[in-house]
């Protein structure tokens, strides 16, 4: 049960950071998302994102910053296994679920739904 509370607090906190980037620094949503993804990758590089996931579960894996961390982790694991070429081959190792499901369901949505207004 504690995990749910931490997920709420950490996930909400990351969204507040996003809202501050949008309101105070006047970034567009696309810039905000890019900033958070790059931040996630950097935190992953310093081994700081994994402890956050351990602590908050979905509170850390659902926000987009986790995407950057997963890109880094996938590449880094393959580097340790296969050497430097892993930096190219491993990048989408973990994020495949997110990207492919977004493509597949997005395409299905384009088949099923008509644009409004």
């Amino acid at each position: 049960m504690g995990k749910f509370i931490y997920a709420f607090l950490v996930g909400g906190g990351i969204c507040v950071i996003g809202q501050i980037l949008m309101d105070v620094f006047k970034l567009t949503p696309a810039h905000t998302m890019c900033t958070l993804v790059v931040t996630g990758a950097i935190l992953g590089g310093f081994n700081l994102y994994e402890p956050l996931i351990k602590f908050a579960g979905a509170g850390a894996t659902v926000p987009i910053s986790s995407f950057g961390n997963s890109l880094f982790q996938g590449a880094w694991h393959e580097v340790q296994r296969d050497g430097i070429i892993g930096a190219i081959t491993g990048i989408f190792e973990i994020t495949s679920a997110g990207i492919s499901s977004a493509i597949i369901f997005g395409f299905l949505a384009a088949l099923l739904f008509k644009p409004k207004g």
């Binding site: 696309a30 880094f72 997110g98």
Partner: protein, 159 residues
């Protein structure tokens, strides 16, 4: 850049800009932040519940349950986008729905639906990554650079 721009304007234009800035509606910072916190928190709590279901009833461990959870959340937000519900939620919550993976899914699904009239190859296929593309590009490139830096540090015998 803004100060450079200002020099080229006449005094009347500068006065107008000052007036326009004063009349601009103030952004309700605090309210937006509270809304983003609540909406983002709820989405992550739903994610945690889905993750719990995958761990309890599926063959997933704490480490790899994140992936199917993200896939389910993407499916839900694509459906909400298609039915036009997501827009209303996003308007209320601001970054609360944009920052979680739901915002990524929404940007792809809405672009795909919106550009359907331009055809399936040039519209849906080409425009789907209009917003999500930048996230992927910067994510991949920064991850690549960080991996290279880490390799370099390791090769030099540090950390």
């Amino acid at each position: 850049m803004p100060s450079q721009k200002k020099k080229k304007l006449t005094t009347a234009q500068q006065q107008y800009q000052k007036l326009a800035k004063a009349k601009e509606p103030k952004r309700p910072f605090l309210l937006n932040m509270i809304r983003a916190f609540i909406a983002g928190g709820i989405i992550c709590t739903i994610g945690q519940a889905i993750q719990w279901l995958f761990i309890t009833y599926g063959k997933f461990s704490e480490e790899n349950a994140g992936n199917p959870t993200v896939a389910v959340l993407i499916m839900i937000s694509v459906l909400l986008t298609g039915f036009g519900i997501f827009d209303h939620l996003a308007q209320w919550s601001g970054a609360g729905t944009a920052v979680p993976i739901t915002g990524f899914a929404n940007s792809m699904a809405s672009a795909a639906i919106e550009h359907r009239s331009e055809g399936f190859v040039l519209g849906v296929g080409a425009k789907m990554f209009k917003l999500a593309g930048s996230v992927i590009v910067y994510g991949v490139f920064s991850a690549f650079v960080i991996v290279l830096i880490k390799i370099l540090i390791k090769a030099l015998g540090g950390i």
